[in-house]
């Protein structure tokens, strides 16, 4: 009576994975929509401080980014732990800031040049001395609109 032989004694049926691609595609689209391509790799530590009185910056092409902070752990052997400025993809000194602003301005259309904003992405453990130096250079370069980029959150979190 092999016809009625029981197959696999009461094993659990296999779970259908047919919808797995759909789920993964959903995740994929979510990430494609909410994220943007990284345009320069960070060479400095960049833990931004918190603030809650923030304004949103739109028009991404009108923002110049200046990063500052300690070199990331893998660069600390060669560059030490003193806070540094990063412009585009490399470390820069304070004297390069004006040149950087000029170049960024040149690359934009003329009517947009005075709408440029400088976003300062500074690590929260940096000393204000460096930030003041950057601000001074920006004043010299007449890039007066700045934005201290922060994470959304209670300001008291910075004090811990």
């Amino acid at each position: 009576m092999s016809k009625f032989k029981k197959k696999g004694e009461g094993g659990t049926p296999a779970i259908s994975t047919a919808s797995l691609p759909d789920i993964v595609f959903m995740l994929l689209f979510f990430f494609m929509v909410v994220t943007v391509m990284r345009d320069n790799s960070l060479k400095v530590q960049n833990i931004l401080p918190f603030a809650d009185q923030v304004e949103k910056l739109d028009k991404k092409n009108l923002i110049m980014y200046i990063y500052a902070g300690k070199p990331s752990p893998r660069y600390q052997e060669t560059f030490g732990t003193e806070a540094r400025i990063q412009l585009n993809d490399k470390y820069a000194s304070i004297n390069d800031v004006q040149q950087f602003i000029k170049e960024e301005r040149q690359s934009k259309r003329e009517e947009l040049r005075d709408k440029l904003t400088t976003a300062l992405k500074v690590d929260k453990e940096t000393n204000m001395g460096l930030v003041s130096d950057i601000k001074q250079e920006l004043r010299k370069a007449e890039a007066l609109k700045i934005n201290y980029t922060t994470k959304q959150g209670e300001a008291g979190l910075n004090l811990e």
């Binding site: 994975t17 943007v36 603030a51 809650d52 304004e55 001395g129 201290y148």
Partner: protein, 202 residues
């Protein structure tokens, strides 16, 4: 003619392909944080003009020193009291005659500011102050201005000032933009943000 059934495409590896793409996007992209405290730097004046003379009582000195301690008008203050103290200073309205402030709700002390239009908050720091602390303090100062502006906007137009600004910056806003701009201008005139960031002395 015998119908030939189209062979079924094996979709078993679809999940693998999707995962591969997903991981690629996870690695190469970031969730940008593009919001922050916007400020305007003062331009450098070549001709050294005499700075306008300000009365001592109209200046609110906030100092964050190298240890992160907060000094307000030369007295040490807890961080959590800063917002309240700034509001009290700005909203004091102690001026008389031409300098009187008819919308202020403060106690009108003679030791504090005359008028929000005249009041200046001076934020000072040392070179060794931590950036995080500096931002925290600056955030509280901006918050004080926003609280007062919200109050006035609510009194005049029944809407929060921050809400008005968000609507103005929203490109999909449907209403009357010129009117909104005018209203924002009026509120800004009542409580102008005179927040000066001095260069560190030490």
């Amino acid at each position: 003619m015998a119908k030939r059934a189209a062979p079924e495409v094996n979709a078993g590896s679809m999940a693998d392909i999707a995962f591969l793409l997903l991981i690629f996007f996870l690695v190469t992209t970031t969730i940008e944080t593009d919001s922050g405290i916007t400020r305007k730097l003062p331009p450098i004046d070549d001709e050294q003009e005499d700075p306008p003379i300000l009365k001592e009582r109209n200046i609110f000195v906030v100092l964050v020193n190298a240890n992160g301690d907060l000094f307000v008008e030369d007295e040490i203050m807890e961080f959590k009291n800063l917002r309240e103290a700034t509001i009290d200073f700005l909203d004091n309205g102690g001026g008389l005659g031409e300098e009187a402030c008819d919308y202020c709700q403060g106690p009108r002390l003679t030791s504090s500011s005359d008028n929000p239009v005249k009041a200046v908050v001076s934020l000072q720091n040392d070179r060794k102050t931590q950036y995080g602390r500096y931002i925290a303090v600056q955030n509280e100062l901006v918050a004080a201005y926003n609280v007062l502006r919200d109050r006035e906007a609510n009194r005049l137009y029944n809407i929060d000032f921050t809400e008005m600004e968000n609507a103005y910056n929203d490109p999909e806003f449907q209403g009357d933009k010129d009117k909104l701009k005018e209203r924002i201008g009026i509120i800004k005139k009542l409580f102008p943000q005179k927040l000066s960031e001095a260069e560190p002395k030490r």
